[in-house]
């Protein structure tokens, strides 16, 4: 299995009260628990079930994912830029593994 790797695109700079779009993608198989491997055995369920975004430590966006979400979940959402700060992204999967990423944004 390929390595689970988060990616994200946040504008480096933004002006005050500008609504920016943040795009994230994590490479994850999202096994729904229904697919079978070559030998006909069921692949156990393993999905990303939670996605959280914090800005300067405060939660701004959250998403609960279900098996109906595609492989390599892509999530895009808006954010209103007010001040300079850091975004912390966190994905949690069924095994309890957490994948983190942080991005800085400067507001002028």
């Amino acid at each position: 299995m390929s390595k689970i790797k988060p990616r994200g695109k946040v504008p480096k700079t933004a002006s005050v009260d500008e609504i920016i779009e943040i795009k994230t993608l994590i490479r994850h198989p999202m096994h729904s628990g229904r697919m079978k491997d070559k030998d006909g055995k069921k692949i156990p369920k393993r999905i990303i079930n939670k996605f959280l975004v914090k800005f300067n430590g405060k939660q701004v966006f959250g998403m609960d994912l279900e098996p109906s979400i595609s492989t390599n979940p892509y999530i895009a959402f808006p954010f209103k830029a007010k001040k300079t700060g850091t975004f912390d992204f966190e994905w949690t999967d069924d095994n309890g593994d957490k994948y983190n990423m942080s991005r800085k944004m400067t507001v002028s």
């Binding site: 229904r34 966006f61 959250g62 998403m63 609960d64 109906s68 595609s70 999530i75 959402f77």
Partner: protein, 154 residues
């Protein structure tokens, strides 16, 4: 009689039966011909409060050639202030093995209520978008997607 019936039921319908049995015994009977697990779920979430069917912007393709990656995005007009904002948005699908697709939690820091993601669809079905406002009101919309190749690995 029952045995004949069993032969007609496809594998997929059996999955509906199972899903229906866990949700509601009453509806599992009907879910064979008319899958409404998503609507059951909507009633469950809204606790039977009135759900207004309004024209929220739900962007899904009319025809999805590959059910494995179907782009879904929505945009709900809202001032997103402390007094008036969209708290939660649910996406549900009535033809998938499980009706829930995603739940989004919004805050006023976001300035707008929209999001994009990609989902799996097992067959042609309706997609429901349910929005919960901070004052306890609900709004929903639905859209039909035709799926050429299903993508649930069933």
């Amino acid at each position: 009689m029952k045995q004949i019936k069993m032969k007609i039921i496809s594998r997929r319908n059996v999955l509906y039966l199972l899903g229906g049995a866990t949700g509601s015994v009453l509806f599992s009977k009907y879910s064979l011909s008319k899958p409404n697990l998503a609507l059951n779920k909507i009633n469950e979430i809204s606790k039977n409060a009135k759900v207004n069917e309004v024209d929220l912007f739900l962007d899904v393709p009319e025809i999805a050639e590959n059910g494995n990656q179907v782009k879904v995005s929505f945009d709900i007009e809202s001032p997103m202030t402390e007094e008036d904002f969209v708290k939660t948005v649910y996406i549900l699908a009535d033809g998938n093995p499980a009706p829930n697709v995603a739940k989004f939690s919004f805050t006023t820091d976001m300035g707008a209520c929209s999001a994009t993601t990609r989902m799996r669809l097992s067959k042609t079905q309706n997609i429901y978008l349910l929005a919960e406002y901070n004052n306890g009101n609900f709004a929903m919309t639905k859209s039909k997607v035709k799926v050429t190749i299903g993508g649930c690995g069933g």
